[in-house]
Symmetry: none
Subunit: 401 residues, 2 copies
């Protein structure tokens, strides 16, 4: 959590409800041709009207210039210092396909590659083989048995899969087998400290077996493993904030992240409208709801300005159903920027609004980067947002006499 | 460096080039009579047009209210927390006259003073004797021999000189001999910890010998020593940022600072136009250039508003030659403010612009304190600028999965 040792003295449980709407990749950058960002171009009357009655500002997810992945982007929003609380690549990949990791399990991000007869990598991604080709290979690899524990292999998409190691005394401190270049052989997994010797030899045993199984294939005939990691034990939001927090997210990765910080994950559908249905149905059961909207990020990653505009408009149309529930505090923000002109996550600050009974006079004239830059919250680190949300909900008492 | 332990995971070497133009003393304060600052009065069409296509903001060098010297002002711009990374007065004075200090040497800032027959200080600056009077005295003092090491004396300007101590096991932890007032005798140098005993006795032996040499003179017949310091071992920019950084600076002090952070110093002329010549000649050889422009600070220090305006206009006229080189990222900012109405360095924030392929839509309507205060970068510590420059140059990968 952010570094405030007196939190437990001031936090209190109340009846008020917070809805935390995270628009993935919300932030944008003005298009060079028009000088206007996606949010400035989009017709989002409901967001704009909400901003007119909200405390608004801009969030810096990690540090100026630092582009966050989804992990640090979300952890910061939930009040976890994203520099201190980190999640491994294997764990997040496992979350992304809905795997749950128990304490002690180690996950790695795997992919099929192509090696020549000497075992030298000629294509690190095996020509990006499609899922229907990769899945039978994953089923074969899933049958591999190793000494000292158990391995399982789970297809992700195209050439990618997740390897999960189970057993006693496993460690994530194992070096990667992916040399990150072609023209060389895959690396041996090495223990990075004494406690990782068993895990490293399990990994090497798996890789040797995988090579034997796949070697008849002309491509996708070897595997590379990266990001060995264990699910970290983070402090729980429920305890830290005296909340009963719930997550409603169509995409598995965000459900995994929510579990990691102690949220109850409420089953929902596969699109945002169904998330809103779920929120309506369960609105009386929790006092904090994390609601995740994916489409803005996906369009930004595609570099499609108009598609991101459309995704924001689609969100805007559904916003009124959330407002109609009358949460005491409604927060709308993003985990990071995904400017269409960059076609990827970026370091840019992210608009935020906090709507509450106390913010009616604080509004700005629109929900976009420029207007929020003039808002009453100023520019703050994302990790400071949770306290502000709690404060507006009356859940933080006075600090000090 | 600034405290981000994951930097090495995300920094990458690329072909893109960054030019970092530091306008010494750039920031100003509106003149009470007109309400307009030097930058607002100056005709700087090229800077204004650049700001129209740049991410702009205001930098706080150290902390609000803290006026930085040149050392902390520059270190912050290069990403070094100026509170944690400090440089001694003697070292900076040595850099200012182009001395290089090897590890272990100790430098002090010295000046001639006048004492009476009882050895009591009557003028701490010896009537600010001119260089032509001080220099023969420096040559005499330079011949002094002490036990345990070697001393050398180098004239600076007027009554000021630099003393350099060489030898084994020297320490900077020596108390100053300047009592900072008249009517008393100079102080003995005392070791401030056990390891400084040899150094303190070397200093005292030098001071006694100097007194004997100078005692026939009516004025400038004694020396005072301050700011004993050794060149610190800072992490190198080259390693920290995966850059090949170079400095182009007409004034020796800035070349010394640049060396301290691991830049290659490219020889250049004595005026800014020659620095730009040097940049043009060597533009293909490095991927980061620190270019230093002195005149704005000098005019501000003189308290001459019009002269500072002229210095900014002179810079503006040469700016297009830098722009014509098409660096991927061009940063224009200052190490601190030097408002003419204060006739010295000040604590005020300093305008900054970052021009890159991604910033065209983010511009503000001029390069000055007011306009930059509305810019998309907001107000950030100077030490956060380097990451932003690297990000805009594509040199920082995503942090975390």
């Amino acid at each position: 959590m952010i570094d405030f040792p007196h939190l437990q003295e001031i936090v209190q449980q109340t009846d008020s409800r917070i809805v935390f709407l995270v628009v993935d990749g919300l932030g944008g950058v003005p298009h060079p041709a028009t000088g206007r960002s996606e949010l400035e171009v989009a017709r989002v009357p409901n967001l704009n009207s909400l901003a007119g009655e909200s405390a608004c500002g801009l969030l810096t997810p990690v540090l100026p210039g630092v582009t966050p992945g989804s992990g640090p982007g979300h952890l910061a929003l939930f009040g976890y210092d994203p520099v201190r609380y980190t999640i491994g690549r294997g764990v997040l990949e496992a979350f992304g396909i809905g795997l749950e990791l128990s304490a002690g399990q180690v996950a790695a991000r795997g992919n099929f590659c192509t090696v020549d007869e000497q075992g030298i990598i000629v294509d690190r991604r095996a020509g990006r083989i499609e899922s229907h080709e990769a899945e039978p290979r994953c089923r074969e690899l899933d049958r591999i048995r190793v000494s000292g524990g158990h391995v399982s292999v789970h297809p992700v998409k195209d050439h990618r899969f997740v390897l999960v190691l189970s057993g006693n005394g496993l460690s994530e401190r194992v070096s990667e087998t992916d040399p990150q270049k072609t023209g060389v052989t895959p690396l041996e997994a090495r223990p990075l400290d004494g406690a990782a010797a068993t895990t490293a030899s399990m990994v090497n045993e798996f890789v040797s077996a995988a090579r034997r199984q796949l070697m008849g294939q002309p491509k996708a005939n070897m595997v590379l493993l990266r990001g060995f990691s264990q699910a970290p034990a983070f402090p729980s939001m429920a305890q830290a904030y005296q909340l009963s927090p719930a997550a409603i997210a169509a995409y598995p990765m965000y459900r995994g992240l929510a579990k990691l910080v102690g949220m109850t994950v409420i089953p929902t559908g596969s699109i945002f409208r169904e998330e809103v249905d779920t929120l309506e149905e369960h609105f009386r059961e929790h006092d904090f709801f994390f609601l995740h909207y994916k489409n803005a990020d996906a369009a930004g990653e595609d570099g499609d300005f108009e598609k991101k505009v459309a995704a924001l408009e689609e969100l805007d149309a559904l916003l009124q159903r959330i407002v109609a529930l009358k949460p005491d505090v409604l927060v709308v923000t993003g985990d990071h920027a995904t400017p269409s002109i960059l076609a990827g996550h970026s370091w840019h600050p992210v608009p935020v609004l906090i709507h509450s009974p106390w913010t009616k006079g604080e509004g700005v004239n629109g929900f976009n980067e420029r207007a929020c830059g003039q808002g009453s919250l100023g520019r703050i680190p994302s990790a400071n947002l949770m306290f502000l949300a709690l404060a507006h909900a009356g859940k933080l008492k006075k600090f000090g006499p």
